[in-house]
Symmetry: C2
Subunit: 231 residues, 2 copies
């Protein structure tokens, strides 16, 4: 199993191949299936061989984040700050959607890597290039939070409704009784017709809704020369 084509020279591992194999495995089988043992097997190698290329599993996860962050498009030159940042963040979002495990791994890292710092630094630079003060830039970066990465923690991660229509009706009834306010959103009332409510949430819409709300708020503060302490 470890030998390929018996006699052919094995192409040696390197950090990059390890990282990309880990990303591919997590994409395919989910992050919870990514163990050093499983990754080693994927690469036709014994688990301890990986430790010649990454110090430990933490560093492996850091490296995987770097791979994903590297997929984010560079900033568009010559675009106004607001749409430039919007585009960049939506590009980050696309990268994260390609790797569904990535947002949780990013959150779990205790320290940002250099690649992550590069990305954050360049986003900060985009606000500065748009004329934002250091003070305001600082606070809007915090306000963006994980949204710079293109994700937000969802608060309604409810289970998918059961397929059986009768069972589904029973669940809705129970929901409506205990949680009337959540139910009216989930059901999408008729007088709200034409809205995206009713047949599940459009995540992309929700993300852009919140992002634009924030960017509009940033713009307003910038225009009125907001400072964190009034003079």
């Amino acid at each position: 199993m470890v030998q390929q084509a018996a006699g052919a020279r094995r192409v040696p591992l390197n950090r990059d191949r390890v990282l990309h194999a880990a990303v591919a495995l997590a994409d395919r089988a989910g992050i919870e299936s990514l163990s050093m043992r499983a990754l080693a097997q994927e690469l036709g190698v014994v688990p301890m061989a990986l430790y010649k290329h990454v110090a430990n599993k933490e560093e492996l996860l850091d490296g995987m984040v770097d791979v994903v962050v590297s997929e984010i498009d560079p900033p568009e030159a010559g675009t106004a700050w607001k749409s430039a940042i919007r585009q960049r963040i939506l590009s980050a979002r696309r990268a994260l959607l390609r790797h569904p495990w990535a947002s949780r791994v990013i959150e779990s890292r205790p320290h940002p890597t250099l690649v992550v710092f590069d990305y954050l630094n360049s986003v900060v630079g985009m606000f500065r290039a748009g004329g934002f003060s250091i003070d305001l830039t600082h606070h809007v970066m915090h306000a963006l939070g994980s949204r710079v990465w293109g994700f937000t923690q969802e608060v309604f991660p409810g289970p998918p409704p059961p397929a059986d229509p009768q069972q589904q009706a029973a669940v809705f009834e129970e929901l409506a009784r205990r949680y009337p306010y959540i139910a009216e959103i989930a059901l999408g009332e008729a007088h709200d017709n034409g809205s995206v409510v009713g047949q599940g949430c459009d995540d992309q819409f929700e993300f852009e809704f919140a992002l634009d709300l924030l960017l509009d708020g940033f713009e307003r503060l910038h225009q009125q020369a907001w400072r964190s302490t009034q003079p």
Copy 2:
């Protein structure tokens, strides 16, 4: 070790004692130290005894979240929606700050518990009581994201600066070279004097800054009778 006071009847465990012991242990030793074995030892009992009170570790974590969520104050009656929601969310934040592990555990749960649903439902109800349409309420809840719980994923979780002043200077110099925009924020320029920048971030300030930005945005949309599709 398992016997207390040799001959005295042991007071039997129950789900509530298990849950509160788990919360206390996580508070004291960190969530990464919370294993079924450690918790059992804490309670003077063998690990498998816990399984008579919680189905498995996942259910234990769910129960711990419920304990924390139960500490959130109920809504103030007779207060305008904006300040009522603001107060409620800041109360949630205080609860989460008492249990630093809680935000990460909340994020990690695949499905909300009934207690969590109760809280979300009541927040939704506060928007509705303030006259928000179902449509707008839906989207503002998404926009709030994890901020309903009083936390946001920080994007600058940098390591604490080294204590040695000389080493600190070297780190700053390296930071300034590679990441000039991050550096100017971290250092807090003199012409931004009076700001909170400069001696580390004031998390509470950042949280309220972003929360108020969002609430102001919500208010504006509400006043102009925003709908997710224009008629």
